[in-house]
């Protein structure tokens, strides 16, 4: 396979062409909105294609560490233990995107259950720990979109 230019570079080249040559020639307001939406989606896809596998792995490692500690400290948190067990049984560690996404879904459920357990415990340190994990997730999401402003409104 060819690896250069990267997918990100290819998508960005398409975006540049659409922005520089197609957009100025569109007079219909509805079509302009469609193009702006398409450019926004393509820009996000460019960032994701370059980084999402690494981001999912980094988030997974961080979630695992917190969740396993919570499971030890709060054996009464049955949903968390079950989610961790499902993650351990189902994860593939594969780098194929479909499989990596499936792993990420399993660990995301672990994070949700860890969040529920933290709030149920009322422990501010535990709530803070899950909030840090969510902030990590948000930092990655925000790197995809930048500031979101609704097109056409």
């Amino acid at each position: 396979m060819i690896s250069k230019p990267t997918n990100q570079q290819l998508i960005e080249a398409v975006c540049a062409e659409l922005t520089g040559k197609v957009a100025p020639n569109i007079s219909d307001a509805g079509t302009k909105v469609v193009l702006e939406m398409a450019l926004s989606v393509l820009s996000c896809a460019a960032v994701r294609t370059a980084k999402e596998l690494a981001w999912m792995k980094e988030e997974t490692d961080a979630i695992e560490a917190v969740a396993r500690r919570f499971a030890e400290e709060m054996p009464e948190a049955g949903a968390l233990s079950s989610a961790l067990a499902a993650y351990d049984a189902g994860r593939t560690g594969s780098l194929y995107l479909d499989a990596a996404q499936a792993d990420y879904e399993l660990v995301s459920e672990v994070l949700s259950c860890a969040t529920d357990a933290a709030f149920a415990s009322g422990d501010t340190a535990r709530i803070g720990a899950v909030e840090e994990l969510l902030q990590q997730r948000m930092a990655n999401e925000n790197a995809v979109t930048g500031t979101f402003l609704a097109v056409g409104r």
Binding site: L134, M138, L149, R153
Partner: protein, 344 residues
């Protein structure tokens, strides 16, 4: 005949059937309105022997093209009932094609307002004028929220109690996440946070559901008219303020946060709500509580795209929108903590 020509022909026949002089009626101008993400909106001008008139058509878009599916019959009932009550200034709702037999898809026809949306108007004024506009927005919201519940149509279900309603709204966050095709820990975090930060109640009342400055028109008499009632329900009126706060981030200007105290003071004065019931921290709660109505519809549409059931660009575009909303949710919680000291 092109799709547009065919549509104009349908419109002409529709308006001819409602004209006193049908033979003289012509559609003289037609324009698709951009910016709406749910209904297919268009502006049409007709002319007959009695003169020229403008109308707005709110129609169901083709399947898979809308980010929110709502019911035109319920919307029509809300529009016609509220308009007849005279309690909320709004454009005149004229006609309803419930089946799409005449207009191609179920559609509502309302009078075109000779005026401008508050969003475009306030984008043209100086920043220092925004607080005054914010107080006008507070007046609009108070007018909607003080509507007598007795005039509401039977389609709007009244919850058993405030607690029952709030519990159901929070549970909706959690249940929707569990039903979604993708895991979304931020939704579960929001649900857990809402359960831990319940504010003092207010009486249940009319909630517009999408009361933001894009949906307030200022006519030539300087009257504020409220449009887009498709998400109207009975609930906690503060939801509208919360939703408007979210809209203010993605569709500036933010006429509330430009001078929060002035906005809330005016709103409290008109509604009689207390400072404990209406303040910036409480509104962070309602930003989150109000959001799933649109947010869940959006992720359901994205799920349809993931299953290959739609390819609509407006739907694909909701992927970055979801990220934008996540960011607003997290900021609202951080804002609440900065005011309350982080009590969970």
């Amino acid at each position: 005949m092109t799709d547009t020509a065919e549509h104009i022909s349908r419109l002409e026949a529709f308006f001819q059937r409602r004209s006193d002089d049908p033979d003289s009626l012509k559609v003289v101008d037609f324009e698709v309105i951009t910016g709406g993400y749910s209904r297919a909106m268009s502006k049409v001008f007709v002319e007959d022997s009695s003169g020229r008139r403008g109308y707005i058509i709110r129609a169901d878009p083709p399947p898979g093209q809308a980010i929110i599916d709502t019911d035109r019959a319920t919307e029509w009932s809300v529009l016609s009932t509220l308009y007849a009550s005279g309690q909320v200034p709004m454009p005149v709702p004229r006609w309803f094609d419930p089946t799409g037999e005449e207009l191609g898809s179920p559609a509502i026809v309302i009078d075109l307002v000779d005026g401008e949306a508050m969003i475009s108007l306030t984008r043209k004024v100086a920043d220092e004028d925004h607080p005054e506009w914010g107080r006008r927005l507070a007046e609009v919201m108070a007018t909607v929220h003080m509507t007598d519940m007795a005039v509401l149509p039977p389609e709007l279900e009244v919850p058993g109690s405030w607690d029952e309603y709030i519990d159901a709204r929070i549970q909706y966050w959690e249940d929707s996440e569990r039903a979604h095709i993708d895991r979304d820990p931020i939704m579960r975090y929001v649900a857990a946070w809402l359960r831990a930060n319940r504010p003092p109640p207010v009486p249940l009342g009319l909630v517009h559901g999408d009361l933001q400055i894009a949906n307030v028109l200022i006519d030539r008499d300087d009257t504020c008219l409220v449009i887009d009632w498709e998400l109207t329900h009975v609930g906690d009126p503060r939801e509208d303020i919360g939703w408007s706060l979210l809209a203010g981030v993605t569709q500036p200007p933010d006429l509330i946060r430009c001078d929060e105290e002035s906005f809330y003071a005016r709103y409290r004065e008109l509604t009689g709500f207390t400072e404990e019931q209406v303040n910036p921290a409480v509104m962070d709660f309602f930003l989150l509580l109000a959001s799933p109505t649109v947010y869940v519809s959006v992720i359901e549409q994205l799920a349809a795209l993931a299953r290959g059931e739609t390819t609509g660009i407006a739907v694909a575009y909701m992927s970055p929108a979801v990220i934008g909303m996540h960011d607003v949710f997290m900021r609202a919680i951080a804002h609440h903590k900065s005011i309350t000291g982080g009590a969970a």
